[in-house]
């Protein structure tokens, strides 16, 4: 992937034409465009993000952002800078979100909630949940419980969890944060 020559300038006229088609509703042009720019997005993210697990999330968030922002592309301008700005914004968003999450959650996961961070699958997570944690989870308000379960039990990304819960990513993060705080309080009380 990293050995692929960067021929963005050569491809720009095609991308521009496909993007104009996409703005007019041409699905075939849009699909060609997305498939062709996907490796570029991966390369740009790969060059700036060392967290391999997060890269694919960032790339997909960038694609979603491109989709939502497609009306802001102006045909008289080159496509590549517009696209790279969207990917760069997605990287910045991820870095900021990671910083916020680290600030809020770092002390909860390893110490208080050993069973709340299962390694991969939902089934394994269900097996690993301790009865104490299950009771604590059950006592949370439904919205907070759902947020914690979606992110830490089902291991969805924030964006996917937000879509599943039918709320904005920001609202989901707030719910999850309140849920962690409540869980920590509940489990801390149980230990004493």
């Amino acid at each position: 992937m990293h050995d692929e020559p960067d021929n963005s300038d050569d491809r720009d006229p095609h991308w521009r034409a496909w993007m104009i088609g996409a703005q007019e509703g041409d699905a075939a042009a849009y699909e060609k465009l997305l498939r062709e720019i996907l490796p570029r997005a991966r390369r740009q993210v790969g060059a700036r993000v060392s967290d391999v697990a997060a890269r694919e999330d960032i790339v997909q968030n960038a694609l979603v952002s491109l989709h939502r922002s497609r009306h802001t592309y102006r045909p008289e301008r080159p496509f590549s800078p517009w696209f790279h700005a969207i990917v760069r914004n997605a990287i910045v968003d991820w870095a900021r979100a990671r910083g916020r999450i680290a600030q809020r959650e770092v002390s909860i996961e390893p110490e208080s909630l050993p069973a709340a961070t299962p390694e991969s699958t939902e089934a394994r997570a269900q097996e690993a949940l301790s009865p104490e944690l299950e009771r604590a989870l059950a006592s949370l308000p439904a919205a907070q419980r759902q947020a914690v379960e979606l992110i830490h039990v089902e291991e969805l990304s924030v964006a996917e969890a937000a879509t599943r819960a039918g709320v904005s990513p920001g609202a989901l993060k707030v719910r999850a944060h309140r849920g962690y705080r409540a869980l920590r309080a509940l489990l801390g009380r149980g230990e004493r």
Partner: protein, 226 residues
């Protein structure tokens, strides 16, 4: 980590595709944002609510007064351009130029006001700030429609930093209004000119920064928070 593959994501996005209306070019958007300010000012003058000073007025020969006026107009245009550019993905360079213009304009306006203040007598009327509230409100009113047009553009383009973009938009609109207020206000106190004219964009923006950010996020959603 995402459980959806990029292939699935592309399929979803293609399935969701529908025609969209492009945003106008940035310079057209800036022109459409500034136009309501010109119309409101023309209406005010036409209705006799506020008239510019006569050409022989000492205001037009005061370097301090002219520095405040020109600085406010530069802040207005620079801040508006930066606000609109901040919502278009590949216009970071325009945004930076807008911010530079905004900083230069603010320096000129505040410099003029502070230099004027340095030679001023102590405040004679302790109630000077009451008149300042009137001028602040007037500047806000003159820029209101322009501010709303800018916020609408920001919200419907690709808003990324709602709080920063909306604050810049409001500061720009109020700066344009404050420029007109400065050219028409008959109050001569230097403190008044500093607080109610030169600092008007900063004061109104500081008061509105949090509610505006929340309102923009609620009205238009946001890909990120700031």
């Amino acid at each position: 980590m995402s459980t959806t593959s990029a292939e699935d994501r592309i399929r979803d996005l293609v399935a969701d595709l529908h025609p969209v209306r492009r945003i106008p070019p940035l310079r057209v958007a800036v022109a459409w944002t500034v136009l309501p300010w010109l119309v409101v000012v023309a209406l005010e003058w036409g209705l006799g609510r506020a008239r510019p000073r006569a050409l022989g007025d000492p205001f037009w020969s005061s370097p301090f007064a002219l520095a405040i006026l020109s600085g406010l107009l530069v802040v207005g245009l620079g801040s508006t351009a930066a606000a609109l550019a901040s919502s278009v993905p590949d216009r970071a360079r325009t945004m930076r130029w807008g911010l530079v213009a905004c900083a230069i304009g603010a320096g000129i306006a505040l410099g003029g006001a502070l230099l004027q203040l340095s030679g001023a007598l102590p405040i004679a009327d302790p109630g000077w700030w009451r008149g300042s509230l009137g001028c602040l409100g007037h500047a806000f009113g003159l820029g209101l429609v322009s501010g709303l047009v800018a916020l609408r553009f920001i919200g419907t383009a690709a808003m990324w930093r709602p709080r920063a973009s909306s604050t810049l938009a409001v500061a720009g609109a109020v700066a344009l209004g404050a420029g007109v207020v400065h050219a028409t206000c008959r109050a001569g106190e230097t403190y008044h000119q500093l607080v109610a004219h030169a600092l008007a964009p900063a004061i109104v923006a500081a008061l509105l920064v949090i509610p505006l950010g929340l309102a923009m996020r609620r009205l238009y959603g946001a890909r990120s928070s700031d």
